[in-house]
């Protein structure tokens, strides 16, 4: 009977998913067929081997829904993700450029201090000189005088601004000096301040620890109380069950006694009549 039905039954038996009668019937089937029993034992052996696969210990990371992305750490494929990907991206771009250059017959050369760029092997057209030397000189002169004027104006503005700032700075230095003279802090005052801060910090830490401990205690207490309630409830239910059993038993006994009395009375009356 090596078929699908048997496979399902074997699995159900292997995992205890059968009623007592079904179990008996299946065990009988195995007795009749040693081959099936062998298969069952082999699968049982596999299950025992699987039991060696223990749970691994792992520490759960802190999860914050609002910062869910921080939980994801780049834990895998560092090679492909952070090294290979950029390399392939650059390589792909270069290949694209080379193909484009080849198709358009791109030319690039440096000669006589000139950089020439062109396509289809055509000579690069240069801009022809259309101005004479004196004209260029005049233009340069004009441009230089304009620049000089602008520079002078800017320098003058800057100088005025610096003067204003220097005056303001002097004023503020004077004011700081005056204030410093008023508020000199002594060493004792500093020490006192630090001692106070230290005491305050210690108190805060102590309060925090005390509060945390109390909270923990409360939580544990609540947990155990709940667990205790659960056990009590269970116990109460069990007791109720036992009590109702006893009452039922007692009722049965009374009933039986009555019946026995009735039978006895009937027997006695029968005998006395005869």
């Amino acid at each position: 009977m090596k078929n699908q039905e048997f496979n399902d039954e074997l699995i159900s038996y292997l995992y205890g998913d059968m009623s007592a009668e079904e179990c008996e019937a299946f065990e009988q089937k195995m007795k009749d067929s040693p081959e099936l029993k062998k298969e069952y034992e082999a699968l049982l052996e596999v299950r025992k081997e699987l039991a060696d696969l223990e749970e691994r210990d792992i520490v759960a990371p802190v999860f914050s829904g609002s910062h869910e992305k921080t939980m994801i750490t780049p834990v895998r494929n560092t090679w492909s993700r952070y090294i290979m990907k950029p390399i392939f991206e650059v390589a792909a771009s270069l290949t694209l450029l080379l193909v484009a250059g080849y198709l358009t017959d791109f030319q690039l050369s440096i000669a006589d201090g000139k950089v020439s760029v062109g396509f289809n092997n055509k000579p690069v057209e240069t801009v022809q000189q259309v101005l004479t030397e004196p004209e260029i000189r005049a233009l340069m002169q004009e441009e230089m005088s304009k620049n000089n004027h602008e520079l002078l104006t800017t320098a003058q503005k800057n100088s005025d601004e610096i003067d204003t700032r220097v005056i303001a700075l002097e004023k503020s230095v004077k004011s700081i000096k005056a204030n410093t003279a008023k508020s000199i802090v002594t060493k004792e005052e500093l020490e006192q301040f630090f001692t106070m801060a230290e005491t305050r910090n210690t108190d805060a830490m102590r309060e925090f620890m005390a509060s945390a401990t109390t909270q923990q205690q409360q939580y544990l207490k609540a947990l155990f109380t709940e667990y205790n309630d659960y056990l009590q409830q269970q116990r109460q239910d069990d007791l109720t069950l036992i009590r109702s059993g006893f009452i039922e038993m007692k009722q049965n006994q009374t009933q039986q006694k009555l019946e026995t009395d009735q039978v006895l009375a009937s027997l006695i009356s029968t005998v006395s009549t005869k």
């Binding site: 699908q4 496979n7 399902d8 081997e49 759960a60 999860f63 895998r76 494929n77 947990l223």
Partner: protein, 194 residues
């Protein structure tokens, strides 16, 4: 003792789930603390790889955080969470297979987890055996692997697995049967080689 406390905590997690559904951030944080190990172990058995398991676990909780308000039934939280984890494992598996030719290390385990406790030799042997078995699991077809993990390690009922996978109980049993047999063959082959 810690296992007992963990069980008690799981017993009382319904309250936390209710609060998390109502939008309580701290309750959700506690749920993450409670379920992280379980979901990580589920994913680790799926991949036999710490990094992939961590990624799938983290993604599971991010999706759970976004969707928990839509959860109507507190009791279905467990299956709902496993279902999210399973979907992420499948997705991650597909992604990993697609780029496996591209990656140098592929599914290589990083081995940066739990420290060796007790007798180092015994612990190392146990760890190696666990890795070997997890390695066998990764060689199984996805649908068989999922069913084995859910039944064998998460202790889910056939009905629950069928519900989570949107299939029938008989199909679940059938996948489990073929999966266990495939594992047996893998183990036998490995023994023969050794």
């Amino acid at each position: 003792m810690s296992e007992v406390l963990e069980k008690i905590a799981f017993m009382h997690s319904n309250n936390l789930i209710e609060k998390a559904i109502a939008g309580d951030q701290r309750a959700f944080d506690k749920l993450v603390g409670l379920w992280f190990k379980k979901i990580y172990n589920f994913s680790w058995k799926y991949f036999a790889n710490h990094d992939l398991a961590m990624e799938a676990t983290q993604q599971t909780f991010i999706v759970a955080y976004k969707g928990i308000r839509k959860l109507r039934d507190v009791d279905s939280f467990r299956f709902w969470l496993y279902k999210i984890a399973l979907n992420h494992c499948r997705e991650e598996d597909r992604r990993t297979k697609r780029r496996s030719w591209f990656s140098i290390h592929g599914l290589e385990e990083t081995k940066n987890y739990s420290s060796v406790i007790g007798n180092p030799e015994v612990e190392i042997q146990k760890k190696e055996k666990a890795e070997l078995i997890a390695g066998y699991l990764t060689k199984l077809p996805g649908e068989q692997k999922e069913v084995i993990i859910m039944k064998e390690f998460e202790g889910m009922k056939f009905r629950e697995i069928a519900e989570a996978l949107n299939t029938s109980e008989n199909t679940v049993k059938s996948r489990l049967y073929y999966g266990l047999n495939a594992l047996r063959k893998l183990m036998e082959n490995s023994e023969m080689k050794n």
